[in-house]
């Protein structure tokens, strides 16, 4: 079965640079979530989209923005990167047909040096 696809899997950026992460949800899933997970921490909710509209916002810094496109893929844009942004970024998707269970991608490792 198709899963949530994230790219790139690994990314190294310097401080103050910009990074873009991409997420392709499971086909026919209408909701996308972004999470940030630091070492040894639980996933922290950043932002979610339902039917291409932002549905909820968590602890997402103002330097970050995200959107969901017409084909339901989503991108997380991170600017003015800081060392503390180094983390594993997960995308997840869900839909009513999946019982609202969220399924996670394998994550994108961002390292800021």
């Amino acid at each position: 079965a198709a899963g949530v696809i994230q790219s790139p899997r690994h990314l190294i950026k310097e401080k103050r640079e910009t990074a873009t992460l991409k997420c392709y949800p499971i086909p026919r899933h209408d909701t996308v979530y972004w999470y940030q997970q630091g070492p040894g921490q639980d996933p922290q909710f950043l932002i979610s989209f339902y039917e291409k509209m932002q549905s909820d916002k968590g602890s997402i810094p103002d330097r970050f923005s995200a959107q969901q496109f017409s084909d339901y893929h989503s991108e997380l844009n991170m600017s003015s990167l800081e060392l503390g942004d180094s983390a594993l970024y997960f995308c997840a998707s869900s839909s009513v047909i999946s019982g609202n269970t969220i399924y996670f991608g394998e994550g994108s490792w961002l390292t800021v040096v």
Binding site: D42, P43, F45, S48, F90, N100, T101, I102, F104, W109
Partner: protein, 110 residues
């Protein structure tokens, strides 16, 4: 304030030694409680969804139960390959957010 607390933080078991992991929650209107398994550097892998008190679900050596205040993940006769972090998450009535606990790191020793 919605909260999810998991205990213990870490658990070491001998192979074959059964035990339970706890997830306590306070949420304004529970839509669902989810259990995930996470291996280091990988995305959380979905295990179970529980929707109402009294519900139970099983998969191989794992069994999840739900009450109005907490959920248990029972591990029967664990094997070393069950070693992972087990995350509990609750979805509130709005359905917009999932609140994660900090996880239980399980190590099963051969």
């Amino acid at each position: 304030e919605d909260q999810v607390t998991q205990s213990p933080e870490a658990l070491r078991l001998q192979e074959g030694e059964s035990s339970s992991l706890n997830c306590s929650y306070t949420v304004s209107g529970l839509r669902g409680l989810f259990w995930y398994r996470q291996d280091p550097g990988k995305g959380p892998e979905f295990l179970f969804t529980l929707y109402s008190a009294g519900e139970e679900k099983e998969k191989e050596r794992l069994k999840a139960t739900l009450t109005k205040k907490e959920s248990f993940l029972h591990i029967t006769a664990p094997k070393p390959e069950d070693s992972a972090t087990y995350l509990c998450a609750v979805q509130d009535a709005t359905g917009n957010q999932f609140y994660f606990g900090t996880g239980t790191s399980l190590t099963v020793i051969p």
